[in-house]
Amino acid sequence: MSETFDDRYFDLTMKVLNYAMEFVNQPSYASLRMTDVLQSLVDISAEIEGVERKEFYASVKAKFRDRKLMTTKQAEVDFLNELLTLYVEEWRRRK
């Protein structure tokens, strides 16, 4: 369904975010590790040819810069929800 590489990359990173959300209530580090993967994907996005949403990934990157040590599950949930909001708003802008 995705047409451009940019869309495919957006979908991929959003799926990783959703996997992090899926695992957030499990007693493991799976959610944090998936969030780390997302952060890495966002970090390298500026260097990938075909990724066009530079401004969007910069805003996600900025959000990661504010990422503090997650001492509670709720803090983790809130952080992931903030990322989700960025993604959905970006999708709505381009829809």
Binding site: M1, S2, D11, M14, K15, N18, M21, E22, L84, V88
Partner: protein, 175 residues
């Protein structure tokens, strides 16, 4: 095809043809959902018909269990009321509606699969659902590309007792 035959031949479809589902068929499927029984006839359910490819794409991003490029989907969920969004009875109601959805789709030559693996918070945000709405199941809907073989089912004699736990019913021998 009789209802019994529909039940016998329905399969969970995860591979679809790139052919849209007509609004007429969509309405028939959703009407079948509407006619399902619900506890106390409370009908606390709400259904979203999703046929916009962009919305569908986002739903898939939020649903690891959504396989295949289905041209449409249904989100079935419960509306909040006093006492929470339906409890176990509400979930059972969605189950009744789910079977109607899948059998109606099959009767129309369509197919689908119930998806329970999705991130509810994400799906809600994508479809602008209010806080009190709880998505329970998502269904992929479309024309089957591949129809899977009949899965192995337990024998009736393995799952049915006659009057008492553990007492087998001789009429079910071999069934």
């Amino acid at each position: 095809m009789s209802m019994i035959d529909l039940m016998k031949t329905r399969r969970s479809i995860r591979s679809f043809l790139p052919k849209p589902v007509s609004d007429e068929d969509a309405i028939k499927i959703l009407d079948a959902a509407r006619l399902a029984p619900s506890g106390g006839n409370r009908q606390r359910w709400k259904f979203f018909w999703v046929n916009d490819p962009q919305v569908l794409r986002m739903i898939k991003n939020c649903s690891p269990g959504f396989y295949g490029d289905a041209p449409a989907a249904i989100i079935a969920g419960l509306e909040d009321e006093s006492g929470g969004p339906g409890g176990v009875i509400g979930l059972l109601d969605i189950g009744f509606a789910a079977e109607n959805i899948l059998l109606a789709a099959h009767a129309l030559g369509l197919g689908g699969c119930a998806v329970g693996s999705f991130i509810a918070a994400s799906v809600k945000k994508v479809v602008n659902a209010p806080d009190g709405f709880k998505p329970v199941l998502i269904f992929s809907i479309g024309y089957p590309d591949k129809t899977p073989a009949t899965p192995t089912k337990k024998k009736l004699s393995e799952i049915v007792y006659l009057n008492e736990y553990g007492k087998s019913w001789e009429k079910l021998e071999g069934l």
